[in-house]
Structures are given as structure tokens and as C-alpha cells.
């Protein structure tokens, strides 16, 4: 077989490269989720990032058959709840239409209604668009023709005939209008056409792929997997003597056999591209549709295809068994089976031609999909629907029957066209933008009113001017920038005002492959984009003296465990286990289900009661070989400097706690998604521990001192791990602390214990368990993490909306409701913004990935997310499917996004705005995210309480713009103003959140609210503009 392209005839070569390109193109559209044990949050629509957000969601929605925004009704609920206000909607409409005085805005319809008003009314009222039989039902069975709808602006009808008259006039007038141009065949469901091929082929592929990628679930592993997908498939399904029950299966075996012999005279098996070419030819797919056909084929099993592509890119992500995977192989298989089904059907005479057998999929389903799915609506039906739309709009805008009757045909036609163009998607878009705007303005207001313009740490007046050796901070805590740590930091600061907290990426600069003591393999503990160059392991336990005894004990233990797991599943051992031990499993069954609290106490509680902070003895870290002192110094220097802990005014205090985070729960296949995003979904504890040991290393400190970062000799770094589900902390290596540091550590532990319990209390407000005391809340959190029946051990990143990069002083004392990623950065001492560049490049993709995955998971959970997790079934240890047979479910499950508010991230950076824009302009990755509005960028002035938002100027109204046409939006800064006063509550956060379970407004928590009134007032910006300030003017 000609493998070398140079030897091939040019014609074949061209087709091959065309197919290869089509495979590549298809691969971009697949979900980028690898094996489920390493869950990495990413933008679900990563393939569309080059397009502006607002058009991308529509394009992608069409591609995947998903929704671009929430359903209209859901926004109306938010309108009722006050999460959107009518003023926000009008502000969005006005800015969409080029300002309040713009010509577009003030165009008049139906005699008196401006376009702005029309949009506003249509958007803020329940949608009432019906067509076909549904409309018939509405007209016949509801009171639509008897009374005006509730939102109507017309004077209430005294008689039903008045309503009827309006309807009759609407019908009459619509008949005068010219017919609208026929709708283009836009397919709402691009994959519909191939469904019957998939019905036959996909179950077989799902079973095969599950076993092929199996990492250790099946008792008999599949053979010959190392030969690759295609070859392995041949090995399995060409087993001699298999019954060929379904005709297509017989045909598939023939094709496989042929392909094993190679396409031509040579006896090499055909490779993927060759097979693809043959199948595409046989299916009669014209060359210009190759890409479309392959994309549809891949998306019909998108979860698996995506996994295969991910494994192809990062084979090391498979946890236990390495298996080769190529997307081209998968597609070749898929098409071969498609072809077998089509040919078998053609042969049995079901349909005459192959073309018909494939249901037109061959000629590109998108072209036929629309025509097939939508029955041609008759002219009368279309007229009725149009009239009803008009009828509805007249009521909403208060257009009287007489006015309607008097409109000229041109005016009426314009009115009707406007109604048609401001369609469902456009209305939802406006509402969505208003929804985002509202939250953003609240965030800006809070930041503007809270932030202290003075560079000195005025947030806690106890802070004295920086001393030479130690600043006033009692101790410092480095945590992950994760938004779940926002509340812990706040509570800790409330409990012990002398503390300083810093948010850094949770891998603490330590990008490593880590192997825990009991683990079989290394695991990468760093952001997904980094390939770690260092490997660190925990020391194996010493087995010198009683090695043999211990070894056999381990063997016995593991064989017991093996039997527990496997034994029950085989015939004989299963029978023995059932008969002899079966009844005994009632004990764990009843205990674990009815009394998980007992187990939780057993696991977490000690004799003296429940403890939220413990000190664990961890095995020794083998650090020396993997990092040189210079490399360690680099890591420590980078992290401390960026966080602002190595400035002239601020140096490490006597005790620095470094806290990674992890989330442990049971019966949760998605556990990795709850872990630390900066550690590839694993726990960041080892990173914190390694970092602390690095900073503790005397040689490293010497090197740091040479660079000007002096860490006093009596400063101690202690690493630990915060379990965000249980709200507990485990500290490592505390036995080495000298007495005076140990004393300070004790104080810190006391404060942390308090803070953790309060944090648990804040988290439980979301859980439907009523108001709990901090202690009981902490117990409840522990209980949840041990509960087999608990689908929501915690809410993970839900409600994330904001990211503040800057000094903690700018946010300290603000109740941010666990919505804000807080990244510590001190602009002073970083005049060239080089630290900021590195920081943003590292942090923004991770944070935006989390935010956007939650965004789309919430917008369309069934399409972009994984649906409810209740029927999820782990397959091959690489993913989950629904029940016993479905595609892999990727993305986020319903239980974790149910309280999420899908808003794009607002990234507020404490930096001069011109510096910031220069920086963003220079980095293509950031530029694309910012300019295409996948996040909203704002600059917080370092020396003043002022915020500017970076706004893009729309070239034309997005609904008119061709998708993908724009790419170079022009940008400008607009200053944000205070739109609502900041509520100040005290003495701690509980006063604000206790007893409330919904979303809370941002608020100021002032410990001494009454006594320090005057002082805190000085922190406020002098003038607070009223909420009713002309919002349009702000934007102009």
C-alpha cells in the first residue's frame, strides 16, 4: 500500500489530504474532555473563540443543536426576582441601537411606538408566538380572543368583541401584506438525517469503545489493543464463526475482511484514510461535503470521538492502561459501518438506491434536514401566525384597533418586518445582556465604594507602617485564587483581623508530576496547558525488617479487596459470597445509607469531638533530586513577588501558611471536577507542601536574598490542604516547627477552625437544610461528603462571575458571595507589567475556562452539559454515559449548575488602563478572549477608586452582521459608576447570609459597624451617583 505520499498518484494524494483536512476540521468541533479522572474546565465552545461571543453562541447552537441563551421564560423569572431590571433592559437596547437619540432607536412604528419601546415591550413580556396546530389550539381553547393579555397596554376591553375586532383587523391587514420570502433551509437539527444509520451502528461502537478504552473495569481485558483502534476492531469482530444475525453486521464483516486485505494487490491492511476514501465514495458523498459528512459522523458520537481525539493529543491522561487512539481510525470505522448498513439495506430492497438508504445524509444532511423536519406550513397557517404576532404586539405596545386600521401598507409592512427581525433569539439576547449588565454594575458599585484609594493598607487600621523585619501582619495565608476560597478568606479575616490572605494559582508555581505513597503512577499537578518537567514522589514506606510479613499482609489485604470487588461478579465466587456473606452486607448497607453521619463522625471526629483542622504526618517528600536550589528559588521568588509579598512595604511574616485545596466525596464519578483547576482536577495539597518546603530550604533563602528577597530566618512556611467539601484543613510537616513558631501556629489554627466552621455555615445556606450553627454546619458538610446518596456534596464553582486581580485591600471586607476569583497582585513594583503579563497568561485561560464551561452548562444543560447525574454510569473508568448505553456525557451535570447564573466573567485588573490594554493587545490569546467578549475586561485604577470597562464597538447590529464576519472589534474604555449604594452589615458575614438561600447582593462587612462609622465613611468615594443617573449617558 502506498504509504509514502511521494509515490502516490497526484489524484489519490489530493483526495487523501482533503480527507485528512476534513478529519482535522471535524476534530476541532468535538468536546475537549479527556478521561474523567482528570477533569479540566474549558470553554465548551472553544472551537468558536475566533468569533465574537454573541454570534458564536448562535452559530454553535445551530451546529450542535443547542440553545444560544436561556429560554425566554427563565429570563422573565429573573426579571421578577430583580436579577434583571427593566432599566437594564432599556440600557442594553439603547446601547444596541446607538444611544438614546440615535436614529435607529427612535424609528417610529405603528404611528407612535419607537423601536426602543417596541423592543423593550416585546422582551419583557412572556413570549406569545405560536404556529400551526398550537396556534389553532390557543385560538380555540384559551381566552386569547376574549380578553387582552395581562401585559397589554390597551385600555382593558369591556367586551370580548373589542378583542375580537382587533384580531379580525390584524388578520385582515396581514392579508394585505406581501408574502415574506420563503425561509432558507436552516436546519435546527443537523444530525437528524443520519439517525437511522446511527441507531444501528452506535450501540456496537459504544460497547466496543468502552471495552477498548477500559482502564480496568472489565474482568477480561480486550486483546490486541496495542495494535490500534482499527486493527483491534478487526481482531474482535472478525472472530471466525460469529453469528451474523443482523444483515448489516454480515456486510460489515465482509467489508472489514476486504479492508484487512488492503485496497489493491498489496496485502497490507488498508489504513484509515484509505478506508475513509472508499467509504465516502461508496456512500456517494461528493467531495465538497466530505467535511460536513465527517463532522456529522463524529458528532453523532461526539463524546467518544472527543475522548479519542484527546487521548490522541495527550495519551498520558489515560490513568492505568495505555491504548493508542486516532480520530481518523474511529471515523474510518464509523463510516465503514455506516456503509455496511446502507448497503445491506439497499440489498434487501428496503429502499431502491444507496442514496435513499442513507436518507440523504450523503449529500449533506444540513441541506435536507430543514425540508424533512418542518412540514411545509400552508399559506393560511403562516398568515395566522403572522396575524397573531401582530395582534400580540399591538396589545403590548398599546396600538388601538383604529390606529392599526389606519396604517398605510408600507408602515404596516415595516412594523411587521420589525416584529419578524426582533425574533425569539434577539429578545433572549437582549435579556441576557441585561442580566449580565446588572450583575456587572453591582460588582463595579461594590468595588468602587469599598476600595481604598490610599496605598497604605487602610482596610485594617491596625496595620502599622512597614517595619524592617516583619510587617504588622500576625501571619499570612496563601490560598488558591479559587472563588470557593473567597468565603474562607473573608471569614478568616473576620475571625483574626491581623491576618493577611493572598490568592495565587493553586499549584503555587510548582508544576510537577507527583506520585503519592500508595499510588501506582505519577499524576500531573499543574494547569492543563503546562507539561511538567519535574517529578516528585513521596517516599515508599521502609520495608527492611519485616518485609516478607508485610508483603504478604498487603497481598492478603489486596486479595480480600479484589474479591470484594471482582468476586461478586463471577459465577462461583459470586455464589459463595452471596450465600455466605450476602446477608452481612446488610450491615454496611444500612449503616452507609441510613446513618452516614456515624461514618462521617468516625472518619472526621476524634475522641475529643469534631475537628476541622488536623495535623497529619505525611511520608517524606523526595524533593532534592528533582528540583535544584536555583529552580526552587525561581518558584518561590515568582510566586511571592507576583502576590505582592516581596515588595518593600510587605515581606513574609513570621508564619506563612500555604493552602492547596481538594474536594473529597463518595459515589461521585465527577469528583475530579471539584478539585483544584490549577492542579488538573487533583488536590493541591502536595503542591502547597512542596512550596512550603522550598521556601523553608536554607539554600533557597540564600539565593532569594541574593535577588533582594530577604526571608527572615525565623519565618516558617507550613503547607496544608483545604478540603472544600468537608471544610477541613490538614497541615503537613508541623512537627518540625520550633516552639515560638508553633505557638503562633496554634493561634492560627484556632482562627482557622473558627473560619472553617463559619465557612461551612455559609455554604450550607444553599443546601435546603435550614439554618445551622457553625459547628453543626461543619458536621453537616462532613456528613455530606460521606453520604452515598448525596448528588451535591458541594456546589463547586457554581455562581462564579467575577475575577479581581489586585491587592486584597481592594476587596477586603466585601461580601462577594463566593462569586469572585481573587488573584493577588500588587501593581506597585511592576511598572512594566511583566509580572502581570505572566500572571494573566497563566490565570485567565483557566478562570475563563471554568466560567465558560459553567456558562454553557447552565444555558443548555442537556446539550452542552451532561444532564442530570442520577442515571450516569461509569464506563471504562474514562467517562460516564446515561444508563447502559449512550454516548459519553461530557461537560457539567445538572446538579452542579442548578444554582449557577450564566454570566460571562468580569475580569477586573488593578492596573493603569493603558498599560493593561497594551498588554492585552500584545498577547493573541488574551486579545481574542477580550476583543471577542468571551469575558469582560475592566481596569481598576491603582491609586483611585475608579473603574473603566473595556467596551467593544459593534460595527453594525449583531443580528444583521454575518457570523464570523467581525474579528477586529474596535475598543474603548468607559468609566463605570456607582449605580447602587453598598449595604454595610456587621459584625460578620453571617449577619448578611444567615437564613437566606438565594443569590445575595454584594455587601460590606464592617466588624465595628457602629463605632467606626465615621472612619469607614472616609473610605467611600465622595460622590455616589444615584441609581437613577442617566445610564445611557454613561455609555455615550
Amino acid at each position: 500500500m502506498p504509504r509514502d505520499p511521494a509515490e502516490e498518484p497526484p489524484e489519490g494524494h489530493r483526495a487523501r489530504s482533503r480527507i485528512a483536512a476534513a478529519v482535522r476540521a471535524a476534530s476541532h468541533l468535538l468536546p475537549a474532555q479527556g478521561p474523567i479522572g482528570v477533569f479540566i474546565h474549558h470553554n465548551t465552545l472553544h472551537a468558536f473563540e475566533a468569533e465574537p461571543f454573541e454570534s458564536a453562541v448562535v452559530t454553535a447552537g445551530r451546529r450542535y443543536g443547542c440553545e444560544p441563551f436561556w429560554p425566554h421564560e427563565r429570563y422573565l423569572e429573573q426579571l421578577k426576582l430583580g436579577r434583571i431590571r427593566e432599566a437594564d433592559v432599556s440600557q442594553i437596547i439603547s446601547s444596541e441601537l446607538g444611544g438614546p437619540q440615535g436614529a435607529e432607536q427612535s424609528a417610529i412604528f405603528a404611528g407612535s411606538v419607537t423601536r426602543g419601546e417596541l423592543w423593550q415591550r416585546l422582551a419583557c413580556a412572556a413570549p406569545a408566538e405560536h404556529a400551526g396546530p398550537e396556534l389553532g389550539w390557543v385560538l380555540a381553547e384559551t381566552d386569547a380572543l376574549e380578553r387582552y393579555r395581562a401585559e397589554s397596554r390597551l385600555a382593558p376591553a369591556e367586551h370580548a368583541w373589542q378583542v375580537r375586532e382587533l384580531w379580525d383587523v390584524c388578520l385582515e391587514r396581514v392579508r394585505e401584506l406581501p408574502q415574506p420570502p420563503p425561509e432558507e433551509g436552516s436546519s435546527s437539527c443537523p444530525l437528524g438525517a443520519r439517525s437511522h444509520l446511527d441507531e444501528c451502528v452506535n450501540p456496537l461502537l459504544v460497547r466496543f469503545l468502552g471495552a477498548y478504552f477500559d482502564q480496568g473495569l472489565a474482568y477480561w481485558p480486550m486483546a490486541a489493543r496495542e495494535a490500534g483502534l482499527l486493527e483491534c476492531f478487526r481482531k474482535v469482530y472478525l472472530a471466525p464463526g460469529l453469528p451474523e444475525v443482523a444483515p448489516w453486521f454480515g456486510r460489515a464483516r465482509e467489508l472489514l475482511r476486504e479492508s484487512a486485505q488492503g485496497g489493491g494487490a498489496e496485502c497490507d491492511p488498508a489504513d484509515a484514510l484509505e478506508l475513509l476514501q472508499q467509504s465516502l465514495e461508496a456512500l456517494g458523498v461528493p467531495e465538497q461535503h466530505f467535511e460536513e459528512y465527517l463532522t456529522q459522523a463524529a458528532l453523532s458520537l461526539g463524546g467518544w470521538a472527543g475522548l479519542i481525539h484527546q487521548v490522541e493529543l495527550r495519551p498520558e491522561r489515560l490513568p492505568h492502561v495505555a491504548v493508542p487512539a486516532k480520530l481518523a481510525d474511529f471515523l474510518a470505522l464509523k463510516l465503514l459501518l455506516d456503509r455496511a448498513v446502507a448497503e445491506a439495506r439497499a440489498a434487501t430492497g428496503g429502499s431502491g438506491t444507496l442514496e435513499r438508504a442513507t436518507g440523504g445524509a450523503a449529500t449533506g444532511g444540513a441541506a435536507t434536514g430543514g425540508a424533512v423536519n418542518v412540514p411545509a406550513a400552508s399559506k393560511a397557517d403562516a398568515e395566522l401566525a403572522r396575524a397573531f404576532r401582530l395582534f400580540n404586539a399591538c396589545q403590548l405596545c398599546g396600538v388601538e384597533t383604529a390606529v392599526l386600521r389606519g396604517l398605510s401598507v408600507d408602515a404596516l409592512s415595516e412594523f411587521d418586518a420589525e416584529l419578524a427581525s426582533f425574533d425569539d433569539v434577539a429578545r433572549r439576547r437582549v435579556l441576557h445582556l441585561a442580566y449580565e449588565l446588572h450583575l456587572r454594575q453591582r460588582a463595579y458599585s461594590a468595588l468602587l465604594q469599598r476600595t481604598a484609594p490610599s496605598p497604605s493598607a487602610a482596610a485594617h487600621p491596625a496595620a502599622a507602617p512597614p517595619a524592617a523585619a516583619h510587617p504588622a501582619a500576625q501571619y499570612q495565608v496563601l490560598l488558591c485564587l479559587d472563588e470557593r476560597e473567597e468565603s474562607l478568606r473573608r471569614h478568616l479575616e473576620e475571625v483574626s483581623p491581623g491576618v493577611e490572605t493572598y490568592g495565587v494559582a493553586g499549584f503555587f508555581g510548582v508544576a510537577m508530576n507527583f506520585r503519592a505513597q500508595g499510588a501506582a503512577r505519577h499524576r500531573a499537578l499543574c494547569p492543563a496547558a503546562i507539561m511538567p518537567a519535574h517529578s516528585v514522589a513521596e517516599a515508599r514506606p521502609e520495608t527492611a525488617p519485616g518485609e516478607a510479613v508485610k508483603g504478604s499482609a498487603v497481598k492478603v489485604a489486596s486479595s480480600v479487596r479484589e474479591n470484594q470487588h471482582w468476586g461478586g461478579n463471577t459465577l462461583v465466587r459470586g455464589a459463595l459470597v452471596s450465600v455466605l456473606l450476602g446477608l452481612l452486607s446488610l450491615v454496611p448497607l444500612v449503616l452507609r445509607v441510613l446513618f452516614p453521619g456515624m461514618l462521617a463522625r468516625g472518619a472526621a471526629g476524634r475522641a475529643q469531638g469534631f475537628k476541622t483542622v488536623e495535623q497529619v504526618g505525611a511520608p517524606e517528600l523526595l524533593l532534592e533530586g528533582s528540583y535544584t536550589p536555583a529552580e526552587m528559588a525561581d518558584v518561590v521568588y515568582e510566586v511571592l513577588r507576583t502576590a505582592g509579598l516581596a515588595t518593600p512595604s510587605r515581606t513574609p511574616s513570621r508564619l506563612v501558611l500555604v493552602l492547596g485545596h481538594v474536594a473529597r466525596s463518595v459515589n461521585n464519578p465527577h469528583q475530579s471536577a471539584y478539585g483544584c483547576g490549577a492542579c488538573g482536577g487533583a488536590g493541591g495539597g502536595p503542591n502547597a507542601r512542596v512550596f512550603a518546603q522550598m521556601a523553608q530550604n536554607p539554600r533557597v533563602r540564600e539565593l532569594l536574598a541574593e535577588r533582594g528577597l530577604v526571608i527572615p530566618e525565623d519565618t516558617w512556611f507550613v503547607g496544608g490542604e483545604h478540603d472544600t467539601t468537608r471544610d477541613t484543613i490538614a497541615f503537613f510537616d508541623t512537627e518540625a516547627l520550633p516552639p515560638e513558631a508553633a505557638q503562633e501556629f496554634e493561634i492560627a489554627v484556632k482562627a482557622l477552625e473558627q473560619a472553617l466552621m463559619r465557612n461551612a455555615q455559609e455554604r450550607t445556606r444553599r443546601f435546603d437544610v435550614g439554618v445551622l450553627s457553625p459547628e453543626r454546619a461543619a458536621r453537616h458538610a462532613a456528613f455530606r461528603s460521606q453520604d452515598l446518596a448525596q448528588p451535591r456534596p458541594e456546589y463547586n464553582h457554581a455562581t462564579n462571575a467575577l475575577c479581581v486581580v489586585g491587592r486584597r485591600e481592594r476587596t477586603r471586607g466585601l461580601f462577594l458571595d463566593r462569586r469572585a476569583f481573587l488573584v493577588s497582585y500588587d501593581p506597585r513594583g511592576d511598572e512594566d507589567a511583566s509580572l502581570l503579563r505572566e500572571l494573566l497568561l497563566g490565570v485567565v485561560p483557566v478562570v475563563a475556562g471554568i466560567n465558560l464551561e459553567y456558562f454553557f452548562g447552565s444555558i443548555d444543560n442537556q446539550g452542552y452539559g451532561a444532564g442530570t447525574k442520577l442515571p450516569h454510569n461509569i464506563t471504562g473508568l474514562v467517562g460516564v454515559m446515561n444508563g447502559a448505553l449512550s454516548d459519553l456525557r461530557t461537560g457539567l451535570w445538572a446538579q452542579t449548575v442548578e444554582i449557577h447564573e450564566p454570566v460571562r466573567l468580569t475580569l477586573v485588573v488593578e492596573c493603569e488602563r493603558h498599560t493593561l490594554l497594551r498588554l492585552v493587545d500584545a498577547e493573541p490569546r488574551l486579545r481574542q478572549l477580550v476583543y471577542n467578549r468571551w469575558l469582560v475586561l475592566a481596569a481598576l485604577a491603582p491609586e483611585a477608586a475608579r473603574i473603566w470597562e473595556l467596551c467593544t464597538v459593534r460595527a453594525s447590529r449583531a443580528r444583521n452582521a454575518a457570523p464570523g464576519a467581525s474579528g477586529a472589534n474596535a475598543v474603548h474604555w468607559e468609566e463605570a459608576h456607582v449605580t447602587e449604594p453598598l449595604v454595610s452589615v456587621g459584625p460578620n458575614s453571617a449577619a448578611w447570609f444567615l437564613g437566606k438561600s438565594g443569590h445575595l447582593a454584594f455587601a460590606e462587612i464592617s466588624p465595628a459597624r457602629d463605632s467606626a462609622r465615621g472612619e469607614s465613611a472616609t473610605l467611600r468615594p465622595p460622590a455616589v451617583s444615584t441609581p437613577s443617573a442617566p445610564q445611557g449617558a454613561e455609555r455615550a
Binding site: 477480561w220 471466525p240 459470586g574
Partner: protein, 445 residues
């Protein structure tokens, strides 16, 4: 209070509590005042607790009575001619033990589901169906007449199919629910036929006679015994997923995890086995059916254990592993090892339920197990290469059972009904405009 009365009350609690729960939940939904989630969950827990307590009381009363069998009559629902629908329960150690097992496991699942289904759309529907199931299991366990048995059988079957289709906004659960429903209908039909045959020849569906060692031989002829036993075996084969109906078992895993656990891990799959143990005296008079049962059990066990070995997803592998034990239990019954079979049944139900409830934990379990994994599949490695390949593909495709059913049962059946439909439309209203307008979409091939 006499001990008989206590026994009656206990048994009544046992059976009635879930049925009352079902009625309350159904009524609250029907009249547009659905119970709130916490109230529903609390009611379910309460009803299951009452049921379990009733079971305990009944057991205590029964032991203190020292009787071998007690028949409790709750009157006649209706009668026509010489046939009567007798509401009769049969209390003996076997029925009390199975009823106790059912209340215990249902109680555990009720508690589990209360938390697991929090905030899930369809919360009320789930608990309503679950209550129907729990009541149905009690009826099966304690049935004293064919009619009561049939009622229980129906409740279990219907709630089962509806819970498989619980997530009815996606198409797969609904399709699979339909598949399960179709198999269960066959099971019900066989059961109904058995009931009719018994009624016709014996005059009553009294199980205390039919299923008791002494009386059974006296009242049924060998031919009738063979017929009824065969029908029961068919019914059991459908209900317990014996060959060739095994294909529905993995499909039934579409529902929420706890319902999968209690139906297909614990109770529903074993209901058939229980019925066979119950019907042992009848079975003993029908040696041919016994042989058939033995063969069916053995072949199913071998088939299921083979298939279970290669399944790479947790729930399928557990479903087939459970089926292999069910096959063994049927074999044990056919061999006359009733006590062993019952102990096996109880132990297996508890064990499998624990496994299924913690199925989503497999990922965590394997972190610790990864080192051990290499040792599995030793017998497989010892097989000759050709046999290995054939067995593997055969097992991965689950013996091509579904495809065979599709080709040789479903398709001919659909062809026949399609043809009948065409004839029907041609005869009745083919030419009327209304019928033409209401032409159904072309059936999928």
C-alpha cells in the same frame, strides 16, 4: 388482643403502608396539589418504616403462634358465577422472610432516594412509582390467591417500566422502558393464562392449596400441573430476565441509580425465583418443566457470567453478574435445593444492592485497585486463541440476543401488525378525508 389479630394487623401494615403511600402521592399529584419534596420523602420514609415494623410484628406474632401456615382473608373483591376474586394472603415462614427482605431493602432505598432525588424534576412521580413497586412486592410475597399474585406482578411490572422511562425527556429511556414493558407484558400474559387455567379447572385461585405440598397433587392433574408450571416458568423467565429475554436487563439501567438497585439488583429480578420456590409443590408434579427450568437456569448462568466478564461499564457488568446468580438460583430450585436457593436469593439481593448503590464510586475504588487488576482474567488467558476471540466477541455483543429478537420476533411482529393496520384502514376509513389527513408518519424500518 389475640395473636391472630396481631398477625393480621402486622401483615396489613406491611402490605397497606406502601399502597396507601401510593394512593396519597398519586392523589396529591392528580388533584393539582403535589406534595412538597421534603414531605414526599418524609412520607415515603414513614410508610416504609410502618411497613418494616408491621413485618417485624407479623414475624413475632407468627413465631409465637407456632403455626405452619396462616391464611388471612380480607374478603372478596368481586365474584361472578363460580369465580371469585379473593383478597387472600398466605403467611408462612417463606412469605414472611421474603416480605421482610422486601421491606428492609425498600426502606433503605426510600431513605437513599430522599436525598438522591432532591430537587430532581419528577420527584413525586418517582416516589409514587416506588410506592407502587413496594406494595406490589408485598403482594407478591404474601399472595394467597392467583389474583393477588397477579395484581402484585402487574404493579411491579408497570412501575418498573415507568421508572426505566423516568427521564422521559430523552428518547433512549423511553425506548428502553417500552422494551421492558413489552417483555413484562409477555410475562403478565403467561401469568394471566396460568390463573385462568387454574380457575377453569380448579374453580379457585387459592394458592394455599395449589402451592402446598399435600394438597397440590390432590387438586390438579399432572397435565394441568405441567401446563400451569410451564406458564409460570415463562412468566418467571421474562420477569427474571432468563434466556432468551436477558437483553432487557441492561436496558433497564436507564432509571435513577436507586431504582436500578432495588429492581434489577435486589427485588424485581428475584421475584421470579421466589415465585418458583413458592410453586415448588406444583413444579414437583411437572418433571418436564423442572428439567426445562434447570436447563434455563444453567444456560442463563453460564451466558450471563460470560457476558458480565467483558462488560466495561459498571451497571451492565453488575446487571449480568446479578443475572448469573439468578440463573444459579433457578437451577438450585429446579434441583430441589429450596433452602439453599432462598438463602442464596436473600444474600445475593443484599449484596448486589450494596454494589449497585455504590456503583458511581467505581472510579475511587479503582484508584486503590489498579495494581491488582492485571491478575484478572486468568481462565480467559488459558483458552485457545480462536475460542478466546469468539467468546470475547460473543460476550461483548451479549450473545446477539437483542439482534435476534429484533430480527425474528420484533420485525415479523411489526410486519404482521403493519399489514393488519393497512387492511384495517382500507376496510374502515381508508377513503375518508379525515383518515387521510391523520395519516401517521411512516414507521421506521
Amino acid at each position: 388482643m389475640s395473636r391472630e389479630l396481631v398477625l393480621t394487623l402486622g401483615v396489613l401494615c406491611c402490605v397497606a403502608a406502601p399502597l396507601v403511600l401510593f394512593l396519597v402521592l398519586a392523589a396529591s399529584g392528580l388533584f393539582g396539589r403535589p406534595l412538597a419534596e421534603p414531605a414526599t420523602a418524609r412520607a415515603a420514609r414513614g410508610a416504609m418504616l410502618v411497613s418494616a415494623l408491621g413485618s417485624l410484628i407479623a414475624i413475632a406474632a407468627f413465631v409465637s403462634l407456632g403455626a405452619r401456615v396462616q391464611v388471612l382473608d380480607f374478603g372478596t373483591w368481586f365474584s361472578s358465577g363460580h369465580g371469585a376474586f379473593a383478597m387472600r394472603l398466605l403467611v408462612d415462614p417463606l412469605s414472611l422472610a421474603f416480605s421482610g427482605l422486601a421491606t428492609t431493602l425498600c426502606g433503605v432505598v426510600a431513605a437513599f432516594s430522599g436525598r438522591y432525588l432532591q430537587r430532581e424534576p419528577g420527584h413525586l412521580r418517582y416516589f409514587m412509582l416506588f410506592a407502587a413497586f413496594a406494595g406490589g412486592m408485598q403482594l407478591i410475597a404474601l399472595a394467597g390467591s392467583m389474583e393477588v399474585l397477579f395484581a402484585g406482578w402487574e404493579l411491579v411490572g408497570l412501575s418498573s417500566a415507568l421508572l426505566v422511562a423516568f427521564f422521559h425527556t430523552r428518547s433512549a429511556p423511553v425506548q428502553n422502558g417500552l422494551w421492558v414493558f413489552a417483555v413484562y407484558r409477555l410475562s403478565d400474559a403467561a401469568m394471566l393464562a396460568a390463573a385462568v387455567a387454574v380457575h377453569h379447572h380448579v374453580g379457585s385461585g387459592d394458592l394455599s392449596l395449589l402451592f402446598s405440598a399435600g394438597d397440590s397433587a390432590a387438586i390438579v392433574s399432572p397435565q394441568l400441573a405441567t401446563l400451569v408450571a410451564a406458564l409460570l416458568l415463562l412468566s418467571v423467565a421474562c420477569k427474571s430476565a432468563l434466556l432468551p429475554f436477558s437483553g432487557w436487563l441492561p436496558r433497564a439501567m436507564e432509571g435513577p441509580t436507586p431504582s436500578s438497585a432495588v429492581y434489577y439488583g435486589a427485588l424485581s429480578v428475584h421475584a421470579g425465583c421466589y415465585l418458583l420456590i413458592r410453586a415448588a409443590p406444583l413444579l414437583e408434579q411437572a418433571p418436564l418443566v423442572r428439567i426445562a427450568a434447570a436447563v434455563l437456569g444453567a444456560v442463563t448462568a453460564l451466558y450471563a457470567t460470560l457476558v458480565a466478564r467483558v462488560q466495561a461499564d459498571v451497571k451492565s457488568s453488575l446487571a449480568f453478574a446479578a443475572l448469573s446468580q439468578v440463573g444459579l438460583i433457578v437451577l438450585e430450585i429446579a434441583l430441589g435445593l429450596y433452602t439453599l436457593a432462598f438463602v442464596h436469593l436473600v444474600g445475593h439481593a443484599c449484596f448486589r444492592m450494596l454494589q449497585l448503590l455504590s456503583a458511581p464510586d467505581a472510579l475511587r475504588g479503582h484508584e486503590q485497585l489498579s495494581a491488582v487488576h492485571a491478575e484478572t482474567g486468568r481462565q480467559y488467558a488459558a483458552l485457545p486463541a480462536g475460542a478466546r476471540r469468539w467468546l470475547y466477541a460473543f460476550a461483548l455483543e451479549r450473545g446477539f440476543l437483542d439482534a435476534a429478537l429484533q430480527r425474528w420476533v420484533v420485525r415479523p411482529f411489526r410486519r404482521v401488525t403493519g399489514a393488519l393496520n393497512t387492511v384495517d384502514r382500507w376496510l374502515v376509513g381508508g377513503r375518508s378525508p379525515a383518515a387521510r389527513a391523520a395519516k401517521p408518519p411512516e414507521p421506521r424500518k
